[in-house]
Symmetry: C2
Subunit: 356 residues, 2 copies
């Protein structure tokens, strides 16, 4: 049965439907709490948040609901903020800054929020579920989380990554297919392709690990949910579907762009953050595309585009905003989160009944 399964009981949720931890202001406490209150699992996308912001958000969520929820963080990596940026990249970005009327070559004071500080809050606040992406969790954090009974979810885009995550002690794997919007969770190198579609990825991971698998990528409605369970997943994670919800903090023009897109419109880009992510193709991506190999890595490029994204948001200029979205974004609905969860459940029931 798709409803009663190990993940739902382990997560203590009514429905095995997870709202993905989209970073960058989309996952407001209101969205997270509404999803959890409706019987799913809301996730605070806290990758770009400071420790203090995370603490405030967790408390705000707990004001709104007593149901379980998750916090998602990015595994940090080494970087060199002193490395000079390629002049071609700097010129292209300053050209965009000129169009937006903001100063050229802004000083960057902070590249990424300190991970240890972020983790300290996750542990102190004893969040029910902790999910992460971009790598593996250090054993000391894993041990601390386990000791406090936190359910730990790692993100894999290939079988190799899923196997490595299982060995590291995670409780569940989020299998992120190539359809997924936003950042690719990929972390193991030397892969001819880590853009494996959900239909191919989920069953291959299910066959190779002994822990439950959460399917992500291209799932927007009851059809996708029923399909994911057919593939062997025990829960689903939806990002784009929740991005256009009323409670989501995504920019109104971003929501509109997502709802008006089509299946061909998204591409994988490194332009905004230095890490591969899927979004609706726009001018910023096109301008930076010729310089892809010269872009600084994450989190440097992410920090370098912060002023551009902030100004673009203020000026409602979607052509310079990161419009992360999955390949089925057109199926998103702009409902309240509670309505969306109810609809997803009802649709999944209907699809499952119809298959017999």
């Amino acid at each position: 049965m798709w409803k009663a399964n190990p993940i739902a009981s382990r997560l203590q949720v009514k429905w095995p439907i997870i709202q993905a931890g989209m970073a960058g202001g989309t996952t407001t406490p209101e969205l997270v709490a509404a999803v959890s209150a409706a019987g799913g699992l809301g996730t605070l996308g806290a990758g770009y948040m400071s420790a203090e912001q995370i603490r405030q958000a967790i408390r705000a969520i707990r004001e709104l609901t007593d149901k379980p929820f998750a916090v998602n963080l990015f595994i940090p990596e080494e970087f060199d903020g002193e490395q000079p940026v390629a002049s071609t990249v700097a010129i292209a970005m300053n050209d965009v800054r000129e169009r937006l009327g903001i100063p050229a070559d802004p000083a960057v004071t902070r590249y990424a929020e300190p991970f240890a500080e972020q983790m300290a809050v996750v542990i102190e606040e004893q969040v029910p579920v902790f999910s992460f992406t971009f790598g593996m969790l250090e054993p000391r954090w894993m041990a601390e989380l386990k000791q406090r009974g936190v359910t730990v979810v790692g993100t894999a885009t290939t079988v190799r990554e899923a196997v490595a995550l299982e060995a590291s002690g995670v409780d569940m794997i989020a299998a992120q297919g190539s359809e997924a919007g936003g950042h690719r969770g990929s972390f193991l190198p030397d892969s001819p392709s880590n853009l494996v579609g959900t239909m191919a990825l989920v069953p291959q991971i299910v066959d190779r690990v002994n822990i439950p698998v959460i399917a992500a990528g291209g799932i927007m409605d009851g059809r996708g949910i029923a399909a994911a369970f057919a593939l062997g997943a025990q829960a689903v994670q939806l990002g784009t579907a929740f991005l256009t919800c009323v409670e989501s903090g995504a920019h109104p023009e971003y929501k509109r762009a997502v709802r008006e897109t089509n299946d061909e419109a998204t591409v994988i880009t490194r332009a905004f953050s230095g890490k591969s992510a899927r979004g609706i193709e726009n001018e910023f991506m096109t301008l930076l595309a010729p310089h892809d190999s010269e872009l600084p890595p994450y989190p440097v490029q992410n920090a370098l585009t912060r002023d551009i994204r902030t100004a673009a948001a203020k000026q409602n200029r979607t052509e310079y905003l990161s419009l992360w979205a999955g390949q089925a974004a057109f199926l998103s609905r702009g409902l309240r989160a509670e309505e969306l969860v109810a609809k997803l459940v009802e649709e999944t029931e209907r699809v499952v009944s119809g298959l017999r």
Copy 2:
């Protein structure tokens, strides 16, 4: 119900399971007939076959079974065989020829089999089902096929292509997700991405056309079949799953490579034919990758690599063979086609029952 549906009854098959029309010798009359005899729909991948070869194969299939089957052809496009090949491409290919001990710069006498001659046989032989890829069928052929009661299936990789095909009068759409092995059926230009995963592609096409949709891409077992029906498809098309069947004409080393691959091993390449296709990455792809933008288009590059592929096959050198395979190729099983069809049905039943 997944079994009793408009496609199964229209195609007069017991199970809505189609063996894809893989070109290049894989779809022997034995394979096609075995799939059809087992209650599925076998397809002769006749894209590279001459009219006379197609006629012989159709007759051989009919000797083996009285069940319906399909013939698949490639929609031709304009090309200029006189255009000189870029010297970088010519050098790289002659380097491969030297490694294989075959003459440099062979004369090419035939680029593609004449489509009108191929179609004449399909019409004369009144095949039950005709499927095509790489474009749209000219109205005169569509009219002739319809008049003879042939069921016509077009291949789409995007919603736009599906809508265009429906308008052209096809009876069904094969929706080819990005996981699929072999050539991409894409034919409409100006798309940021036509690599849409099956999970995202199928429901979006189902919502936009009024004719039945056949899901393809990443489907290897009952889990994939049940998932495809959940997404709204009314039939499934499997290529890689049938490629390793006993009756398949694929080179034994090619079958072995497919069964020993993994989810990360395939990439999209134009190296072998000038058209994008998914296969297991090998040395030939790697050697030609730096010259991708200089490759001649299909069918010129396809004709230019024919001697290389032939010699590589004779010498069991998989590093120079086109190893077309989907992203879930590792799940293929090397059974007899009859056993595979029976297993697929049994598995699908089990998955569907388990979902309730």
